[in-house]
């Protein structure tokens, strides 16, 4: 019955969920900026409740918020005081090690009224994580440490699961939800937020995560498994220089075969753009081992190189030869009955 469904929808639409999106980790805010280009759903879809049954979502994000200063930061103090329920805590940027810097700070958000010093991100984590319905780490910095956590970094940067613990659970029983990417693919972010909003309203089960705490339906496949150049790889046909070569980029440093990411299949904005699917080597920016285990980026991956050489000098050229031959001889050729003629030779027995 439509009317029953409608009554159910009205109930969940009356729920208000807050998203406290903190950009003040060791971050570049690239995930927030990328999020504004999402279309499935778009930011305004989320704010204007475009999907039936979804709760009202109030997004608190520094890049777009109308309020300024204390007026803006008040939501964080309210969340701590238990006045915002449910709320989802989104973290952008890695967390520095604040135990090694004396009286200083690596990163801060808002000011402690008692001493006028910035409140570190780590202190906010301690204050808010226990009260959040879910903690979402957005971007590879927040998920696994990313570039600020490179070898020789001065801040001791780490990801949210490193800080809270990999087996940590929110009060709603959810582990840290990781949406890696540098930046995270725009639709991956907004789609997971929408999914969480529906889950909190009781309309969806908890998101299924893999062992690195990534949503399975987004990060279940490797780049190679989704790449439009994988056919070239299968035929042992590899690009020899960057640019409009169209062939597989494995020899030029693409790390696609060992990277879990959906960009080649989802594109970047509205299906346009991407990485190896449009000519840019995959630099493995969604992975816990990023960047150190993939540098130098422009050198080929040792396992990828081995596999590529096996293919290149064995069945690849044979497959390619026969396919091309079959196309040339058979499939690029029309059936013989399509021609100008005074007789019909399609096989139909004429009855006029």
């Amino acid at each position: 019955m439509a009317s029953t469904a409608y009554a159910e929808q009205s109930k969940t639409e009356a729920v208000t969920a807050h998203v406290l999106w903190m950009t003040t980790g060791l971050s570049c805010e690239g995930d927030s900026v990328a999020m504004t280009s999402a279309t499935n759903p778009s930011l305004e879809d989320i704010i204007l409740q475009a999907i039936p049954g979804m709760p009202k979502v109030i997004v608190h994000n520094q890049v777009i918020d109308y309020a300024v200063g204390q007026e803006y930061a008040q939501a964080w103090f309210d969340a701590e005081a238990g006045k915002l329920d449910p709320f989802v805590l989104c973290i952008e940027g890695s967390l520095g090690n604040e135990e090694i810097n004396g009286d200083g700070h690596w990163t801060g958000f808002a000011v402690n009224p008692s001493n006028g010093q910035p409140i570190t991100m780590n202190e906010w984590m301690d204050r808010l994580a226990p009260k959040a319905a879910a903690v979402v780490a957005i971007g590879t910095c927040a998920t696994y440490g990313g570039i600020p956590a490179m070898k020789n970094n001065p801040t001791g940067a780490m990801g949210v699961p490193d800080y809270l613990g990999w087996s940590w659970k929110s009060k709603a029983g959810l582990p840290v939800i990781c949406i890696p990417g540098c930046p995270a693919q725009p639709d991956n972010m907004t789609e997971v937020l929408l999914y969480l909003a529906l889950h909190l309203a009781g309309l969806a089960p908890a998101p299924e995560l893999d062992e690195a705490l990534r949503p399975k339906w987004l990060f279940g496949r490797t780049v190679r498994e989704s790449c439009n150049r994988a056919g070239f790889a299968e035929q042992g046909d590899f690009a020899t220089e960057y640019g409009s070569d169209h062939r597989c980029l494995i020899k030029l440093g693409c790390k696609g075969p060992v990277v879990k990411c959906n960009v080649p299949v989802r594109g970047w904005v509205n299906g346009i753009g991407g990485c190896p699917n449009v000519g840019g080597i995959c630099m493995a920016c969604t992975m816990p081992g990023f960047p150190d285990k993939f540098m130098p980026f422009m050198d080929e991956d040792k396992y990828g190189a081995m596999a590529a050489n096996v293919i290149k000098f064995s069945y690849g050229p044979i497959v390619r030869y026969f396919r091309m031959r079959n196309i040339r001889r058979e499939y690029d050729v029309e059936p013989e009955w399509r021609r100008r003629s005074s007789t019909l030779s399609s096989g139909y027995a004429k009855r006029w």
Partner: protein, 589 residues
């Protein structure tokens, strides 16, 4: 200049933490004199430190553009591009023509995206109906009664209608801009792969698949953008002119002396060879002319000279000096001496500590320009990027590519026919003052100017593809030792990457984006940074008293620079500390 007065005034300390609708974290701490409606003191603070120049030491130089892109989430592609220009110099490689054009097409798309979304979904929310109602209700009443001069073009009958169109998430122009900011990023992705951290921008050229289809997809979106920008420019002109007319003295909001820096952008592939020794010449061939202005005078358009003027100072920053560290570069490739405080020689030594506004209060350093005529370290700004770029380009009077021409006092533009609107002529005049309104206005015009550069470069790229010259990348070898620099303009202004290679690895890499220039604190000589200076010059027009003060004029002053850094602003509305002081207004000359 300081004028001492002996009258006692009521002064309130106020801070905003964090400042929203910018990129990154910025804190503005002020002392405000409510009896004279003036800002006495301003401190700009940033509380995020990551240390790129530290952890990049020792890595393969070919990783630099991938890593440095991550410095910023809105202009990362500008860093990536700048790093590739730098690497081209270090490796001595010149991309094929199509590769250079692809860089220009990606970056112009970035400008038209970035300035649209920043102006109309962030900065101009300060001018929207809701905000004006909360801060200057009598001005809104006046706006309701004022017909918009450009209504026939942009369709908004009154100035208040324009303000309504800018209301967040309900305003028609705000929502349209969000949409525009998506298809312009699609344009970026056609050549750059992804935004904001590109996948196809490389040393040696562009690795994107560039075909007829790539060019067509870009063309269609670019022409659609012309429809948007033709309505946007007159609409913003109407809005800004209204403020200047109705609030006499508003041209002092965010005012500072015209001390500008811009490194120029968009190289002409016919001239650029990426060689430092010829940088003076190819730098001047850029579609945006590099330049330094001091005291309202264009003093140089020579990138070599400009390079040697750069100094990095400390004073209020959480860093130790590097005077006792080894020197990397004593002379540039032309034999000119290089200063110890130059980026090539800088060593980053973080010293985390408590924030103290009387001493050290930020993670930002203080870049300055050394004026050898006077021996002064001049505090220059980028005016948010567009202001300095157009100012120098107009004054230099070199650029002329058909669609746009620099005249010495203006930039004349011809926007061709687009799907919905006929041809349109625009002229951006060099304004008399460097202030908040003119920075925002320049940002609007810059969208038109950047789109024209894109159109011209696209026409050239299409010719290459049609001629079958689709190669867009050339190979190179990393040398054992090199000294190189990349000069580019990020959307928000100057961007330089200085690199030293030793034994095939990075020995020193110092990226300087626009924000260190604009958000810098007081330097060792006590000279305040541009935000601090501009806010201290800002008179207050807000109708609210100290108890419900929003600081809108201060916000407009700061946001006009298009800040891009992590920072915080806390506001003790009504409960700020009140002090009696003998007050010295500064820089009101």
């Amino acid at each position: 200049m300081a004028v001492t007065t002996a009258n006692k005034v009521m002064v309130k300390e106020m801070s905003w933490d964090p400042i929203t609708r910018i990129v990154g974290s910025l804190g503005i701490h002020t002392e405000i004199d409510f009896s004279n409606r003036q800002v006495l003191k301003c401190y700009s603070t940033s509380m995020i430190f990551r240390g790129f120049d530290i952890f990049m030491k020792g890595i393969d130089p070919r990783d630099a553009h991938f890593i440095t892109s991550r410095i910023c989430g809105i202009c990362g592609d500008n860093h990536c591009t700048c790093s590739c220009l730098n690497q081209n110099m270090a490796y001595g490689v010149k991309p094929p023509k199509l590769g250079d054009l692809a860089f220009n097409l990606a970056e112009t798309a970035d400008y038209i995206f970035d300035h649209a979304i920043y102006n109309d979904c962030m900065a101009n929310v300060d001018f929207c109906e809701q905000m004006v109602k909360e801060t200057n209700p009598s001005l809104l009443a006046k706006a309701e009664q004022t017909a918009a001069p450009g209504r026939d073009i942009h369709g908004h009958k009154t100035i208040a209608d324009i303000m309504r169109a800018l209301n967040p998430f309900t305003g028609e122009f705000y929502l349209e801009t969000l949409h525009v900011a998506r298809y312009t990023r699609e344009m970026y992705c056609l050549f750059g792969g992804r935004h904001t951290h590109p996948s196809t921008i490389m040393p040696g050229g562009c690795s994107a698949d560039i075909t007829h289809q790539t060019c067509t997809d870009y063309y269609v979106r670019l022409m659609r953008y012309f429809d948007y920008v033709k309505r946007s420019v007159p609409m913003h002109d109407d809005l800004y002119d209204f403020f200047l007319q109705e609030l006499p003295g508003y041209d002092m909001v965010g005012y500072r002396e015209t001390n500008l820096v811009n490194w120029g952008s968009f190289d002409d592939p016919d001239y650029v060879d990426y060689d430092y020794r010829h940088m003076t010449d190819w730098g001047r061939r850029r579609y945006i002319t590099p330049g330094v202005a001091i005291g309202g005078e264009l003093i140089s358009t020579d990138l070599v000279e400009i390079n040697l003027m750069i100094r990095i100072l400390l004073g209020s920053s959480y860093f130790d000096g590097w005077q006792n560290e080894p020197t990397f570069v004593t002379h540039d490739p032309l034999g000119n001496p290089v200063d110890k405080n130059h980026p090539w020689n800088k060593v980053t030594l973080p010293r985390p500590q408590k924030r103290d506004f009387t001493d050290k209060y930020t993670w930002v350093v203080s870049p300055r320009m050394f004026d050898k005529r006077t021996g002064a370290h001049v505090c220059c700004d980028t005016g948010g990027g567009p202001f300095a770029r157009q100012w120098c380009t107009a004054k230099a009077g070199v650029v002329d590519f058909g669609y746009a021409k620099a005249t010495g006092h203006s930039i004349q533009m011809v926007l061709p026919r687009s799907p919905k609107l006929p041809e349109m002529e625009l002229e951006w005049q060099v304004p008399e003052k460097s202030n908040a309104i003119e920075r925002d206005r320049a940002r609007t015009y810059h969208q038109a100017y950047s789109a024209l550069i894109a159109l011209h470069n696209l026409e050239r790229a299409i010719k290459e593809v049609q001629a079958g010259r689709t190669k867009s990348w050339n190979s190179f070898k990393v040398p054992e030792d090199a000294v190189s620099v990349g000069f580019h303009e990020a959307a928000r202004g100057v961007l330089s990457h200085h690199m030293v290679i030793r034994e095939g690895k990075i020995a020193n890499y110092q990226p300087y984006p626009p924000t260190p220039w604009n958000a810098s604190p007081r330097d060792v000589y006590g000279t305040p940074g541009p935000y601090e200076d501009a806010v201290q010059n800002t008179p207050l027009f807000e109708e609210n008293g100290p108890d419900n003060f929003k600081g809108i004029d201060i916000m407009r002053a700061v946001r006009s620079f298009d800040p891009c850094l992590p920072c915080g602003v806390h506001m003790y509305t009504g409960t700020g500390r009140v002090r009696k002081v003998t007050h010295t207004p500064t820089a009101m000359a």
